[in-house]
Amino acid sequence: MKRSLIILFLASSNIFSILEIEIIKGSDSLSKVAFVPFGIEENVNENYGEQISNLIEKNMLLFGEFENLDKAEMLSFPDSEEDFYYRDWKIMGVDYSVIGRVNSVNALGNLNISYSLFNINRRIKILEGEIVGKENNIEGIAKIISNRIYEKITGLKGIFDTKLAYIVNLDTETYQMCISDIDGKNEQILFTSAAPIMSPDWSPDRKKIAYVSFENGLAEIFIQDLASGERESIQTLGMTNSAPVWSPDGKSLALVVSFSGNPDIFSYSINNKRLVRLTNHYGIDTEPSWSPDSKKIIFTSDRSGSPQLYEINTQSKRKKRLTRDGNYNARGRYFPDGKSIFFVHGNEGNFQIATKKLSSRFIETLTSTSLDESPTISPNGNIIIYATKEGSKGYLGGITLDGKSRFSLPVKNGSVREPAWSP
């Protein structure tokens, strides 16, 4: 009896204890998106339909986060939901389809564009929108639509309207402080100098840029207003100042001030122009950067004998060492969520971009080139752009955090250094 009871129970226990299979690894492939040429109304310039879908496609493919379906392979070109059949896209292995229509142009030159995004695997429409914009700002309209599509697919903030600041060395005597759209278009030269320019950083409102210029013979920090082009020096106490970084609340700059040749980290309040000392050590403390909550600052210090990353609480002044692997970890920055950091990790003469969760001991190298420096992260935390070199020429490379996509930004005349991604 006992035996039969147990067997019965075992039989029933099998029903209750359900097999669980764990899935941690994801696919190496990318989501495939079909960008269908937009339809047009009769009175609209017939190029607009194709132009706008091409612009959206170009934006979405910019960082290699998605794969596209070639237009020649499309089985249909629907421009409304009534003409849209999921099977046409499922059969081509498409994950998402973007369709739309340029509805009208009014007397003021305003375009009315409607668009929809379909999730093919789930067979649902996940986005529908309408936008009105100037005929001559079709790129701007495409960026807004691209951002909305990107947000719906990834859950991350769209970044197609962000900008990049960087330094260009045309030759050893010409340095330029430049900004451009994230796709490299609309480049603007903010300042040209015969002396080196370094460390650009965006104000959180994207209206100003702080950088270091040697135009007066020593390192001096300038804040330049982008709209007016006005420059203001914040030379404090006549010493060398460097590595300015705006706090996320926009109230202060973290910077390095060197009294009698010993660099330490300071916080500079922009409104009352007050300087507060944060570190005081005979070692070199440099390259500060704020945590997203503006409460902590990460910095590089050689106080242990080799460059390592430390974190200081700006209120309590308590310090914490963050890296221990290897003998070179520098130029640290926080991820937008404040839970991880990325930095330059030196290993046997190679310098690569690495990441580390603050809760973990392990670091992970992201890049495979050997002279990588000055990493900067997209505001949504998904892409890192960094400066690297081929021969003596510097260019900008990029990588998505999942490592699936590596890309390099269009090559310019001269060497490009120190990229800074705008908020």
Binding site: M1, F9, L19, I21, E22, I23, S27, D95, T154, D402
Partner: protein
């Protein structure tokens, strides 16, 4: 006579009741509940089969004593008889061994098919960037013996809309697990008719 019968009946009932109580207690030692994974379950299955072994452990000793009592002088004969008796007495052990082998074989098949399913899902799951969040979502899959996905349901969502969505997209991409076809029906019913997929954003434990 009736009295004797009734008292015998009462005694028999008490015995029955006691054996029932005993069996109930012996069940609780199995500790199988719905949250346990297959790994634990199978170890316990094997253990439960092994359990009676402790009782039978005394038997070979007895045989040695018996053999001693019989005072068989020739060593070889002692050995022979011992070996023989051991073999004879351990017959239930062989049964147990066989069922163990059967179980471990079943387990092997289950693990093999689980690994195939794991690979198949991994190859279509486009993991979203969940930043530093540690997320997990459980999906209950309902299969037909042909391997066709009849139904699936997210039984424990991760609280991250986009993570959950990525999981549902992945499962939507698969309509068949061909590997199930040809699987022993009993094995299918008990393991793959319903099973859960646990999607995790990272291998970390919080």
């Amino acid at each position: 006579m009736n009295k004797i019968l009734t008292s015998f009946n009462t005694f028999a009932f008490i015995l029955l009741f006691l054996s029932f109580v005993f069996s109930v207690f012996s069940i609780t030692t199995l500790k199988v509940d719905e949250t346990q994974s297959i790994k634990v379950n199978f170890y316990e299955l094997i253990e439960s089969v092994e359990q009676p072994k402790r009782l039978s452990e005394a038997r070979p000793k007895e045989t040695i004593q018996q053999a001693d009592l019989n005072k068989i002088e020739k060593n070889s004969e002692v050995k022979k008889s011992l070996d023989f008796k051991k073999y004879k007495l351990n017959k239930p052990d062989i049964k147990r061994e066989l069922s163990k082998i059967k179980l471990s074989k079943e387990r092997e098949v289950i693990l093999k098919i689980s690994a195939i399913i794991q690979d198949k899902i991994s190859s279509v799951w486009i993991k979203p960037n969940s930043l530093s969040k540690v997320l997990a979502a459980k999906v209950l899959i309902n299969l037909a013996p042909s391997g066709e996905v009849i139904n699936f349901e997210m039984v424990e969502p991760s609280n991250d809309k986009f993570f959950d969505e990525s999981v549902l997209i992945a499962i939507n991409k698969i309509s068949f697990f061909e590997e199930i076809l040809g699987l022993d029906r009993k094995l299918f019913e008990s393991n793959f008719r319903n099973f859960k997929l646990v999607f995790k954003s990272s291998g970390e434990i919080e």
